[in-house]
């Protein structure tokens, strides 16, 4: 297997990492939080949605699919919204570290609940898109992979338009930069924050429904996909969406490239760390202090 094909192998996961990274970056920019629970809420939505299948068994297959996806998106948005509400209510002026620590606690809760509710066995979480989009040599680039990349780009572009070109974007930036000042100007800070959490959560629910069990067999392994996602987001320093997408694809490509060398499979799991480490070394070559003055 040559390198180009190996890169194609890594494309699907890379695109997924890119989308997760974009979600993380979005939340970091708009709500000052590194959301470690980001993927978990999506996975929860998707896994809970397949519990509805006995209730809607009579409907046609298309209707069933639509209902399942809608439930997944709504559940994910709801869980994410609750987290956002907690952050906006009690930690509005807290540091990024404290706000992110809350998402670590909720990650712990969601992983444990996923053990309890879904077990550690693989579940029949059917992906929305099945099969290859096109072939590179003998390697199929999956529809899921293409969909993830498109989703990452769409989310990125939409975010740019909303943030830079609409009155809503001005408010969002105000809330993120100077929450108290925005509040004094009559901006509905809490509503906006919870809104961002719900929208990003919903996107993650949709994303989990689309990829189904193609990326990971069980709920917990799927939740840990947030790790390569953070690697992607770090490449964009949790600020820059285009760089984040590149970062995700690079992590995926490196992992794919390693599959060409079967003796190095153990390294595969260390790729995200490697990217994180190299990036941090580069990013912090200059001395940076905790506060501006």
């Amino acid at each position: 297997m040559n390198i180009i094909i190996a890169l194609a192998v890594g494309f699907s996961s890379g695109a997924l990492y890119a989308l997760i990274g974009v979600g993380l970056t979005l939340m970091s920019v708009l709500t000052r939080v590194i959301n470690f629970s980001l993927v978990a809420v999506g996975v929860f939505g998707a896994y809970l949605s397949i519990r509805t299948s006995p209730l809607i068994a009579g409907a046609s297959l298309d209707v069933q699919t639509v209902i399942t996806v809608v439930v997944a998106v709504l559940v994910a948005a709801l869980i994410s919204g609750i987290l956002g509400w907690i952050e906006a209510t009690w930690l509005s002026e807290a540091t990024t570290t404290a706000r992110s620590a809350v998402t670590v606690a909720s990650l712990l809760m969601l992983i444990s609940l996923s053990f309890i509710l879904f077990g550690s066995q693989p579940q029949p979480l059917r992906p929305l898109l099945i099969g290859p989009a096109f072939l590179i040599g003998d390697v199929a680039v999956t529809k899921v992979g293409v969909a993830m990349l498109v989703a990452a780009l769409v989310v990125g572009i939409l975010t740019w338009i909303v943030v830079n070109r609409t009155p809503l974007g001005i408010r969002l930036r105000a809330v993120s930069d100077r929450q108290t000042a925005a509040e004094l100007l009559g901006v509905n800070v809490k509503g906006l924050q919870v809104g961002v959490w719900m929208v990003v959560g919903g996107v993650m629910g949709l994303c989990a429904s689309i990829i189904g069990n193609t990326a990971a067999a069980d709920a917990t392994s799927m939740i840990t996909l947030v790790i390569p996602g953070t690697a992607a987001a770090l490449v964009g320093a949790f600020k820059n969406i285009p760089l984040t997408i590149v970062g995700g694809l690079v992590v995926g490509a490196l992992q794919g490239a390693l599959t060409a060398f079967p003796s190095t499979t153990q390294l595969r799991d260390w790729i995200p760390i490697l990217v994180i480490v190299l990036f941090l070394l580069w990013n912090q070559r200059k001395e940076v202090w905790d506060v501006a003055r």
């Binding site: 990024t96 609940l113 917990t220 912090q284 905790d290």
Partner: protein, 592 residues
């Protein structure tokens, strides 16, 4: 200082040792008196407690997020097993092997911890969280694939020939108690030491830490490495307890659970780490009795964690704060009315200090640019040894930028600064502090997690003995050394900051608006103390201040900055009467 106001630690230095000895005796009675099952579970409590104590250094004391404590455990366990099964060393060291291997495993784990922590050097807590979460997952899958050296058939012998049956369990419990108590004593001593103070300081402010002459990098890395060391030891203790481990013993989710629990209880406090260990082990044990899925305990920890984070408190510090309030109330009711130490003695006003005539700090052509904005343009000034120089100017004139540049926080400036013949160029802030250049901050940079005395010991770097510390506190009318900084108001905290920096007897002290937040009377008292300070502490002072009354009453020399350039510089009277200064600084009509 009265006897009652001395800290408990100085009154009873033997107390920690006595408690440790008591704990070992209690452990022996417990281990050989309780049912076998209870003893076995209690060993697990100790292991969890050791993990939590290690974590407490990073999360509690140094304020970072670390999510791979059990990965360190698994690395430590792996190394111990490797040394036992793949090397001839056990034949060489016999019954001592376990203890020795445990230390080796801890040291190697600490080295790996350094490698992980190094790239996140400027670790804002969140970067460390990202890295450690990644490490947790990667170590987990790697260990799943390569397995432990015991390969699920060999058993690792216990230390000192203890058997692997319930009798051996009892002996091993005592062994675990001794190890745990030793680690607890070590951590307690470190927390009381200068390095422990550095951890607390860095959790509150990196700039404040560097300005006290402590390297931020060293503080953070030492905390993380020590935490990894203790994590590795905990892993070895698990091996000794169950004699055979696999990847399930060290799952990443339990690392998350330990982190959250560490926040909930405040596991930098030894007793709270024990309490956390009990929660971590006993709650799942209870759930097991009722046949409820064990994961519910993690759900509970998650909820408790969110509660602790949203209320910004943990059990340990809340309990201690309540105890302190009670103690203070009792002491206050006992104290008689005569003990008002804050009163300023009514001696004659000290004169404005005259210098020795020798230039101490020579700054030439200092220019600082932030992009297109020139914050300072070609600033040159000389501070004479033994004087107080006032640096004044309107808001945005570049006064604080000047202090930042001289203090080493703006390395990209041009121009030179020479302190007492020694060029400062290229030195990071903590090295400048050690070279005798100290500064205070406009913002509150005094870590509330310390006591006044501990803060002074930290800032002075151990150079000031208790008498000197007490002298500096009395000199500025600060609260007693045992008072926690968390109960001191912000204005007084700045005084404590000034007192601490003077007590470290630097050559030059840069004060950035030290009197903000003081009342008018306190202002007057502060001015008088400041005038005495150069002689009392042997320190030259540069003071930035908006209050012209204060500047007029303490400074012999004044430099005025406006729009980043020197408007006037010279002796007090001529500068303050300079028409340029009057118009630029005070407005056209204001008379000085």
């Amino acid at each position: 200082m009265s006897l009652a106001s001395r800290s408990r630690a100085t009154r009873r230095p033997w107390l920690p040792l006595a408690i440790a000895l008591g704990a070992v005796v209690l452990g022996a009675i417990f281990g050989f008196g309780m049912p076998a099952y209870v003893v076995f579970v209690s060993t697990s409590v100790l292991v969890a407690m050791v993990s939590l104590m290690g974590l407490g250094i990073v999360t509690g004391t140094a304020g970072m997020i670390a999510l791979c404590q059990l990965s360190f455990g698994s690395i430590g366990a792996w190394i111990l097993e490797f040394l036992y099964l793949k090397t001839p060393l056990p034949n060489v060291f016999g019954p001592l092997s376990f203890l020795l291997f445990m230390v080796i495993a801890g040291v190697i784990t600490a080295a790996l911890g350094l490698v992980i922590g190094l790239p996140a050097l400027r670790l804002r807590g969140v970067n460390l969280a990202v890295i450690t979460l990644g490490v947790a997952a990667a170590v987990d899958t790697t260990v799943q694939q390569i397995g432990f050296p015991d390969q699920s058939f060999a058993h690792i012998p216990r230390p000192f020939g203890l058997s692997s049956d319930p009798t051996g369990d009892r002996g091993y419990f005592l062994f675990a108690v001794i190890i745990t108590v030793t680690i607890a004593l070590g951590i307690y001593a470190l927390q009381k030491s200068r390095i422990g103070a550095a951890w607390k300081s860095v959790a509150f402010s990196e700039r404040g830490t560097a300005s006290a002459g402590t390297s931020v990098r060293t503080a953070k890395l030492s905390a993380f490495a020590l935490s990894a060391f203790v994590g590795g030891i905990a892993g070895c203790l698990i091996v000794g307890q169950i004699t055979q481990v696999n990847y399930l013993t060290f799952t990443p989710i339990n690392s998350l659970g330990l982190y959250v629990l560490s926040i909930v209880v405040g596991s930098q406090l030894i007793d709270m780490a024990l309490f956390g260990g009990i929660l971590f082990v006993v709650i799942p044990e209870i759930l097991k009795q009722f046949r409820v899925p064990l994961e519910w305990s993690s759900v509970a920890f998650g909820i408790l964690g969110i509660q602790a984070l949203t209320s910004n408190s943990n059990l340990g510090t809340s309990v201690r704060a309540a105890l302190f309030r009670r103690r203070r109330l009792m002491e206050a009711s006992r104290a008689d009315a005569a003990g008002d130490h804050a009163a300023v003695e009514s001696v004659a006003e000290a004169p404005i200090p005259a210098g020795t005539g020798r230039p101490l700090l020579v700054v030439e052509h200092l220019t600082v640019e932030f992009g297109a904005v020139k914050a300072l343009t070609d600033v040159s000034l000389v501070v004479e040894e033994g004087t107080i120089l006032g640096l004044i100017g309107p808001n945005g004139a570049g006064k604080s930028t000047f202090v930042d540049a001289i203090g080493g926080f703006l390395p990209q400036h041009t121009g030179t600064a020479v302190l007492d013949g020694e060029p400062l160029a290229g030195l990071p802030p903590h090295r400048r502090a050690r070279a005798g250049l100290r500064r205070t901050f406009q913002q509150d940079r005094v870590p509330p997690s310390m006591s006044v005395g501990a803060y002074l010991r930290f800032v002075t770097g151990g150079r000031a003995d208790p008498a000197a510390i007490s002298d500096a506190l009395t000199f500025f009318g600060c609260p007693d050394a045992y008072t926690p900084l968390s109960v001191v108001d912000v204005g007084t905290r700045r005084l404590v900051e000034v007192a601490a920096n003077l007590a470290s007897r630097p050559k030059l002290l840069l004060l950035d608006e030290p009197a903000a937040g003081l009342s008018h009377d306190e202002h007057l008292a502060f001015a008088d103390r400041l005038r005495r300070a150069p002689e009392h502490f042997g320190t030259t002072i540069l003071i930035i201040e908006h209050d012209l009354d204060l500047v007029r009453s303490v400074c012999s020399q004044i430099t005025v900055l406006n729009f980043g350039e020197i408007l006037a510089s010279g002796d007090r009277a001529s500068v303050l009467n300079d028409p340029k200064v009057v118009s630029a600084y005070m407005g056209e009509t204001e008379m000085l």
